[in-house]
């Protein structure tokens, strides 16, 4: 494959590119979806192709083809160069790439059991057994199960002599129980919403998730939610479980930390960021308890790699340290705009056909010192919430409102009543500044996100957020209806 890469890079140079890189991706995906005792969908995807990115006359160009035949090289590179020349007509600032060194290396994610060697029957049987348990609960009318396995070979080569091959295996599994009745619909999922837990692991992930062991509880919770009330709107102390907190980190810390958003490159679509350059390293983002780390070396994380799509080596750095905002997520193109000469390695594309843009890597809230039980016990009037249901946040990433799958009212240190559609809202820095307790390492878990959308054309990226439950003081909870 690197011969193919060399041909592409040589041709790009011949056409006048001052920089060029190529990514070849060969990806296999196997996915199963069961619903109410049936295999609703089973598919295998074998996709391959290459994308070429060039700088020419101080403009960027990118073109891709799903055909890896060498006859496609000339056409695709010509298009990338032509696009770069068109871009240069509306370009004011010079393109200055950071001085990250090129690497020649191989990297592979780790796994114990190759999921593609596990017989289909084992996979289906696992999901159908869970399905049966879920539907034993009479009000559960929709039982859904998911499994997905991905294997990807990615070749990266650049005109600066980088040559990198990375191989990744990702596995994921989960299910949901939807109870229907009383003109209401309530869903509980396990281990996470939207397809379950995903990690860079093999079949051993599925075996470790205790899927069957939790099915009865999940079905019962979905059924019980049909008879639960919504919490009345009021200001309370809020305790957020790890799954929901992973989303909170993602939306209110991850996205506003992307330097392309900060600089206005996403203004027309996803929006910008409240962490403007004047606030860089000058913002009390959260309380002193809040430490958030970006880490593309996190074992088994979905945002873990050897090198990003600029060829920059994986790294770990603080985004928030003791409550103070520390670092943006950057790539080689934009690092210089904040006077940094090295990228923080956050350049990622979701496929060969997508151009790399700044994306979150794994981003985690570090654990605190508290036992979860002690956090509940220390709460007089509160609400515990978990399970991702609905999320919304404004284009500056300030005003957010989230609704979870399940909640429990807390009175005098005890969970007393289950509530449905538990909703909370806030303004990002005020919210994180109100964080006064974080559970300790024994409660900390990695939570895989597989549906992070960004960019135009739209790209969907995966990353992991580690979190333990945490408490936030005086948060507006419940749905406000005037």
């Amino acid at each position: 494959m690197f011969d193919f890469c060399d041909k592409v890079l040589n041709y790009a140079e011949l056409l006048g590119a001052s920089y060029a890189d190529i990514r070849i991706i060969i990806r296999d995906i196997e996915s199963l979806y069961t619903k109410n005792g049936k295999l609703e969908n089973y598919s295998i995807n074998n996709i391959e192709g290459f994308g070429v990115r060039v700088i020419c006359d101080n403009g960027w160009g990118f073109a891709s083809s799903s055909n890896l035949d060498s006859s496609q090289i000339e056409k695709t590179v010509r298009k990338a160069v032509s696009i770069a020349k068109a871009s240069s007509k509306v370009r004011k600032e010079p393109i200055i790439l950071s001085k990250d060194p090129p690497f020649q290396d191989r990297w592979a994610s780790t796994y114990l059991i190759d999921p593609f060697t596990v017989p289909f029957d084992n996979k289906l049987q696992t999901l159908l057994e869970i399905d049966e348990i879920l539907r034993n609960e009479p009000s559960v009318k929709i039982a859904e199960g998911y499994m997905e396995f991905r294997r990807e070979h990615k070749y990266f080569a650049s005109s600066e002599n980088a040559r990198i091959l990375q191989t990744t295996i990702v596995s994921g599994a989960g299910y949901s129980a939807t109870a229907v009745g009383n003109e209401d619909v309530q869903t509980r999922s396990y281990p996470m919403s939207f397809g379950g837990q995903y990690m860079q692991m093999g079949w051993e992930l599925v075996e470790s998730l205790k899927l069957k062991e939790n099915a009865q509880r999940v079905a019962s919770e979905a059924a019980a939610l049909l008879n639960a009330k919504e919490p009345e709107p009021k200001v309370r102390d809020l305790i957020i479980g790890g799954e929901q907190l992973s989303l909170q980190i993602h939306e209110s810390c991850g996205h506003p930390s992307e330097l392309d958003r900060v600089l206005g490159y996403e203004e027309n679509y996803a929006g910008s960021s409240f962490i403007t350059v004047d606030k860089y390293r000058n913002l009390h983002y959260g309380s002193h308890k809040v430490n958030i780390v970006a880490d593309s070396t996190l074992p088994n994380g979905l945002g873990t790699f050897g090198y990003d799509d600029d060829g920059v080596r994986a790294q770990r750095f603080f985004v928030v340290k003791n409550g103070l905002y520390q670092n943006y997520l950057t790539n080689r193109e934009l690092a210089y705009t904040i006077n940094e000469d090295r990228s923080r390695g956050c350049s990622r594309a979701d496929n060969f056909s997508s151009v790399p843009i700044i994306r979150m890597i794994n981003l985690s809230l570090l654990p605190g010192d508290d036992k979860f039980e002690d956090i509940i016990a220390a709460t007089e009037d509160g609400l515990y919430v978990d399970g991702i249901k609905t999320w919304s946040i404004d284009q500056m990433r300030l005003n957010f409102q989230f609704t979870c799958q399940i909640g429990y009212l807390i009175k005098n240190g005890k969970m007393i009543e289950m509530v449905k559609n538990p909703t909370y809202q806030g303004i990002t820095p005020n919210f994180w500044q109100s964080c006064d307790m974080i559970a300790s390492e024994e409660y900390w878990k990695p939570w895989g996100v597989i549906n992070c959308g960004k960019g135009q054309p739209a790209q969907v990226m995966m990353m992991t957020h580690g979190a333990a439950p945490a408490r936030f003081k005086n948060v507006m909870t419940g749905i406000v209806r005037h």
Partner: protein, 439 residues
């Protein structure tokens, strides 16, 4: 080429029935921010999904390499996989005996588009904005694709889709606004008009009034209304959701649920591009009145659910492997006066230019939350007077649509996942806002 590939697949397949979906598309997009082009891409892709059906078992596989060897390996592997599948009595035979190609007469103005013309449009928009000390960000995009559906039973249907879009955000010290053009031809595209409209809107932002969360009478532009109403289409009219009782239609079908001013069609044949005459199960697509003067009388269906519920198959099966159905090219009928006239006749209301990051809290009441963005304006005594801060809304779409006061006569094409939605502006009374921002 597709014919030859399909022939190979069908010859090699040992299954009773085999079908392919062949996707061939190009998507190009120029992105700009901070007054310069920041990203400029084109991707060409071809992919084919093969599905086999044998003894009430099915399996599918997608490939993007069409060499003889890859096709043979894929067909052999898929047949092996098929043997391990479970029988499903819901599976129905593949369509047969048709040869149909939809309209592919792409307008000349669209055919000429390329990266150089896109860059010229961007340059011109930025020139107009920058002259007024306004900075610009946005996209100029073009896409074109076709999907050919063929079966081993002599069925062939090709569907074409092409789209052009220019979206412009304009920002100065007073605020930000956004205007968009989306269509299948550039004949009505006027970059000067679009940029100047942004500048006019920003002039209203010089004066800003702070407002708090409350209930307000509001006027949504067509773009904002499209963002809200898409949740009605995603969650409500499918026969599947009706059957599973996860939609309000399960409890209110046949009743007047909305304002009598509201009539909505599912019109698969509405536009020149993306007109869909057969769905992806091979059934003819039909025009369906989803809402008739506020009454919700009809569902959209596919082969499986029409049989199960004993209702007409409306040809809305868009995925042959998930038993799901969605509206195609929904159209909301307009009213008798223009948006401008509705504004002029409003004493006290908010004009909302765009919505942002909507999400559903309850699929039955269609309670959604989301934000306003890119311009909220006060209307007082028939005139836009000032802009305001942004607001978060948490509101039931059922309630909002029953509170419609007026729909505009002018309608806009707004992108929908297949084709477009045709949407007017709308005036809604007492819309619930749950919190406010400082910007």
């Amino acid at each position: 080429m597709v014919d030859q590939i399909a022939k190979k697949v069908f010859e090699l397949s040992k299954a009773e029935q085999t079908e392919i979906f062949f996707y061939d598309g190009v998507e190009a997009l120029t992105r700009f921010g901070q007054n310069q082009i920041t990203q400029n891409v084109e991707s060409q892709s071809q992919k084919m999904s093969i599905r086999m059906l044998d003894k009430q078992k099915t399996a599918s596989m997608e490939i993007s390499n069409f060499s003889d060897k890859t096709i043979k390996n894929a067909v052999d592997k898929l047949y092996q996989i098929l043997q391990h599948q479970v029988q499903d009595e819901r599976l129905q035979p593949l369509p047969e005996d048709l040869n149909f190609k939809a309209n592919d007469t792409i307008p000349e103005s669209f055919k000429k588009l390329d990266e150089n013309i896109r860059a010229e449009y961007v340059k011109k928009a930025l020139y107009i904005l920058n002259k007024q000390s306004v900075s610009g960000a946005g996209i100029c995009s073009q896409s074109k694709y076709n999907v050919t559906h063929m079966t081993s039973k002599n069925y062939s249907h090709t569907f074409y889709d092409w789209k052009f879009a220019f979206s412009l955000s304009a920002k100065n010290e007073y605020g930000i606004t956004r205007e968009e053009f989306q269509g299948t031809t550039l004949d009505n595209f006027n970059i000067d008009k679009l940029a100047n409209k942004c500048i006019d809107s920003l002039n209203f932002s010089k004066e800003k009034d702070r407002i708090e969360a409350n209930k307000y009478d509001i006027i949504f532009t067509p773009e904002a209304f499209a963002e809200l109403i898409q949740y009605l289409f995603y969650f409500s009219f499918s026969a599947k959701e009706f059957y599973e009782k996860t939609s309000f239609m399960a409890f209110k079908k046949g009743q007047q649920v909305f304002s009598p001013l509201l009539t909505i069609l599912n019109n698969p044949h509405a536009t020149d591009s993306s007109a869909l005459y057969y769905d992806f199960e091979g059934s003819p697509t039909k025009v369906v009145k989803l809402v008739d003067k506020g009454y919700c009388n009809n569902l959209i269906s596919n082969r499986y659910f029409s049989k199960l519920l004993n209702i007409e198959n409306t040809g809305n099966g868009l995925s042959p492997t998930t038993f799901d159905c969605f509206p195609i090219n929904p159209e909301i009928e307009g009213g008798s006066r223009s948006l401008e006239q509705i504004i002029q006749s409003s004493d006290n209301a908010l004009l909302i230019n765009r919505l942002h990051y909507l999400n559903i809290i309850d699929p039955i009441t269609l309670t959604v939350t989301g934000m306003t963005r890119d311009g909220v304006y006060k209307i007082e005594k028939g005139k836009i007077t000032t802009s305001t801060n942004n607001l978060r809304f948490t509101e039931s779409i059922l309630t909002a649509l029953s509170n419609i006061e007026e729909l505009s006569s002018d309608r806009q094409q707004c992108e929908w996942f297949i084709g477009f939605m045709k949407v007017p502006a709308v005036k809604i009374k007492q819309f619930n806002f749950s919190s406010a921002t400082d910007f």
